[in-house]
Symmetry: C2
Subunit: 217 residues, 2 copies
DNA sequence: GCAGACCGGAACGATCCGTTCCACTGTTAG
DNA sequence: CTAACAGTGGAACGGATCGTTCCGGTCTGC
């Protein structure tokens, strides 16, 4: 809507423009709120966005709709970062950079932690598969670079991301710093070292984390 | 029931014995339930224990009381494990063994994740300080063994435990295995390696995680 | 000017949950 | 033997929370 009304060229005026801006404001507020607490009330989103509840319900059929949108956006971000990384020539740098950007953007909280709170669409299913393929490709390249210890598997990335997302302090900037630190420790731990013991237990298997996508609560 | 109780020597008869057994059953159920979800309803505990709600309220003044007890128990367990570890002569083995046992017992979920849901007692405050001292002692010994990279600090243990506690799959035994794996990766990451980059950002500081103990929600 | 897009926020109804209450039952002291 | 009673199960209650709806008001684009 609002694509060609002779005058809406200027970005800042009119009711239409205000509404269009609200689209973004609301999404950003929702991201902030649900990142912090996946089961926050929808009123918290409205408050944070500085709008009324109606402004939300005008855009989304219900809470589930909003959550789905948010999660899907996260998934797309994940895919985009992976594609960007795949264009990097240095195998290890591509891998490490990808993880750093995914951790920085808190994509994990946006996807995995929100999953199960809504009915996923088929498109999300396809995107999730594609995300897996891309991550696997990045992982294989990292492995080929020889800097990974031989007994890690792609699924270890799930544990790694979970570990980073679990770091949480009140100040969000500081949270980012600490997550980077955690990531560095984990990457060091996944790196090939001549004399370390092999990792214990059966490695995480494909599909072992799929339960998160099933309806919860 | 009603096995002629010549005396209450036999551990299995009588109302009194049943009640005494319930003490333990209830605590165990509560541990299981609140470990899984810190804000689970109290009725879930009763159900899991196979008792009525009254049996709970007969023992604890309210939910907060139960939570406090559980958390304090976890803290004591932490202290006990640390003391056991300090008796081990090999510095690194003491350190690694301590962490493994703390992770296995899920002490972190019992303490940190429950903190903030109740008003802590002064004794808990003292115990928390003691726990910190013991952990620091273990950490210093580990550092003295030369197997730790120089830029890690005691507070990194908080991140490490959080990372392990964040690993969660429906099957609890499997969860334990995966946590051990995560722990192994993290310990490898914290180990001294000749050519690694220093860890990024300011290291976690003392008191930076104290906010968890302040009242939440 | 006026139809209607857009919005704020009160109101509503459905849950959920902690706690209380009461009827019941087996135990045990006397 | 029996009268208290500790111990219990679970229904009932009251308060809180939250998703959603609804209505009255405002401003805009035509």
């Amino acid at each position: 809507m609002a694509t060609s009304p002779g005058k809406t060229e200027t970005p800042l005026a009119g009711r239409r423009a205000q509404a269009a801006r609200n689209d973004e404001v609301i999404l950003e507020a929702a991201r902030g709120v649900f990142l912090d607490d996946p089961k926050a009330p929808i009123a918290a989103v409205a408050e944070r966005a500085g709008v009324g509840i109606s402004a939300l319900y005008r855009r989304y059929a219900g809470k589930e709709d909003l959550l789905r949108q948010l999660c899907h956006d996260g998934l797309r971000r994940y895919i985009a970062e992976a594609e960007t990384a795949l264009a990097v020539s240095d195998d290890w740098a591509a891998f490490a950079g990808f993880l750093a950007r995914v951790v920085d953007a808190d994509v994990h909280s946006l996807t995995v932690h929100l999953a199960g709170t809504f009915a996923p669409t088929e498109e999300m299913g396809r995107d999730a598969m594609r995300a897996n393929e891309l991550a696997t490709a990045l992982f294989e390249r990292a492995r080929a670079s020889g800097r990974l210890r031989p007994d890690v598997v792609v699924q270890d990335l799930g544990l790694l991301l979970e570990a980073c997302a679990a770091v949480r302090v009140p100040d969000s900037e500081r949270t980012g710093q600490l997550r980077r630190r955690q990531l560095a420790v984990l990457l060091a731990g996944l790196s090939a070292a001549p004399d370390t013991d092999p990792l214990p237990g059966p490695p995480p298997a494909a599909g072992e984390f799929d339960w998160r996508w099933r309806r919860r609560e």
